[in-house]
Each structure stands twice: as C-alpha cells, then as structure tokens.
Amino acid sequence: MHFSKLRLSGFKSFVDPTELAIQSGMTGIVGPNGCGKSNLVEALRWVMGETSAKRMRGGEMDDVIFGGTTTRPPRNVAEVSLHLDNSLRGAPAHYNEYDEIEVVRRIERGEGSGYRVNGKEVRARDVQLLFADVASGAHSVAMVSQGRIGAIINAKPVERRGLLEEAA
C-alpha cells in the first residue's frame, strides 16, 4: 500500500483546493518563511486522525479552518482527503479488497469533524487503527514536525524512552 495523493480545501492557509501528488523517492517542498509548508504536514497528520488542537498549533480544532486574510473572508468548512494506492495490496484486512482507499476528514466551524473512508462514515478510532496497522498515523515516529529534533535533544532520558515504546 502507498500514499498517492493529498487534497486540501479551506485548511489553514490553503483556502483554495490544492492537490499534492505523493510519489516514490524523495519529494522536496520549498518556499519562503510563513508560506504554508508546515501547514501541509499538519493537513496530513490531521486526516490521519490527530485529536489534539495543541499539536495542530491552535487553541481549538476550529483553528484549522481558514481564518481569513486582509482580502479574503474566513471559511466555515475545511476538508482534507488522503488517497492510498492499494493495487499491490497490503492494507489492513478490513480494507484490503479495494484498489484505492480514500480517507476524508471534514470539519465545520462549531460542529466538530467527521471521517469517511471510501464514502462510508467511520469513527476517528477506525481511521487511527487503519494507519497504526501500517506503522503510520498522526503520531508516527516518521512524521518529524518542525522543532521535533530540538525537542528530542532537550528531552530528559525518561521522556526519550517513549521512542522505544513506539518501536515495541
């Protein structure tokens, strides 16, 4: 199973529909300070089931919805979808019959958020398990957010043990 595409709309500074192809090898993402690079990473973590607003650098989860600029009005809905290519199989049993798996998370201001996998409504728990089964997910060691390396360096030895628990 591969990650193949990420689509965002109304998510943080990505107010217009945006699509990022995720291809094999190394894809570089570049741009000036404050242009939205880390927001892309947060969109990926969010659709994989992130539940903490603080880890999304916000006060509450509604903060992920486009808040407006000096020229554009704020939005009330944000949506992120992640496409997984399962043609070579490898997805968790429950989903392994599909060639493609689309995970969608949508939030409305003041209403909370919901998930859909291939069009069917599911719980946050189901999405988190889907990604945990392929060693991924919002808190996976492979999602190295900005500042994470500094946090590992400054962590006390007991806090670093958490990394081992991830591997166990």
């Binding site: 199973m1 500074s13 242009c35 190295v144 166990a168």
Partner: protein, 168 residues
Amino acid sequence: GRERLLAAFAEVNEHFTQLFTRLFGGGRAYLTLDKGEDGDETRDPLEAGLEIMASPPGKRLQVMSLLSGGEQALTALALLFAVFLTNPAPICVLDEVDAPLDDANVDRFCTLVEEIAESAETRFLIITHHRLTMARMDRLFGVTMGERGVSQLVSVDLQRAQELRRTA
C-alpha cells in the same frame, strides 16, 4: 511489557550504532537504559530513561549533551531513523531537520535518506531551505503566497530545479 521493550531496545540500538557511523562517516555510539540518579542496577527497564553515548570520529566518548549543536541534531536523526527502521512506514515527512547541519553532513544525510527510500519503499516528503538538499530531490514543489495569506502549491519546473542543483 518488559520483554517487548527490551527486545525493541536491542533492535533499535543495533540500527542506531550502524546509522550513527554512516551519518558521521566514522566514530561510534550506543544507547543505554540508564539506571536513574541513584544508579540502581535492579531498576525496572519500564522506568528507566534512554541515554545516548556518542563519540564523533576522533573524539572521546561522551553523553549527547556535550556534543555541538549540529552533532546533537545528527545523533537525534540517527535515533529517529533507528526507531523507524524497526518498523518502516509507507511515508516519512521531515520538516527542516537539516537546518543545523553543515554541507558535509547534509550530503551524508541525503545519501542515507536515498538508500532508505529505495530499500524500504518509503515515500519521503522533505521540507528544506538548504540548496544542497533541494538539489538531491527527485522532484520539487514550491509553496508560494502570491496573494498574501493564501498558500498555493506549484510544481518547480525542471529548468529551475537544474539551476538549484548547479549552484548548490
């Protein structure tokens, strides 16, 4: 519980010692489950902290906190990749992890990532401001804010990417 953690520790430690030598081009390092302040030998590994001993090429062995800023960052990267390799994920996202590294270390970091991308079939999204890292990517996406406060994703054409490779 305890058996799983000790087994994970052994596997992560094995990966870590190899990755450290590859990233530093020599030297040696290993992980220890420290016994805590009181040096209690019988301490339960589930309570212990993870300490990192490292000696960059030609230097004495010491705890990670005595290394330089860049040496600590490279050591923390070796630890993260060690945990990652015990259970490789289909995607790995690195957000400006190369910021404190000099050119020689950036080069070794990129070589390692390239090898993991090929062997583990993992797809990498790498956010960077380093020209040398940009030049090693298979493809580049730029994030811009043509309209203030609104992010747009554009694919950096090959011509531009070539230029980056040349001046890196």
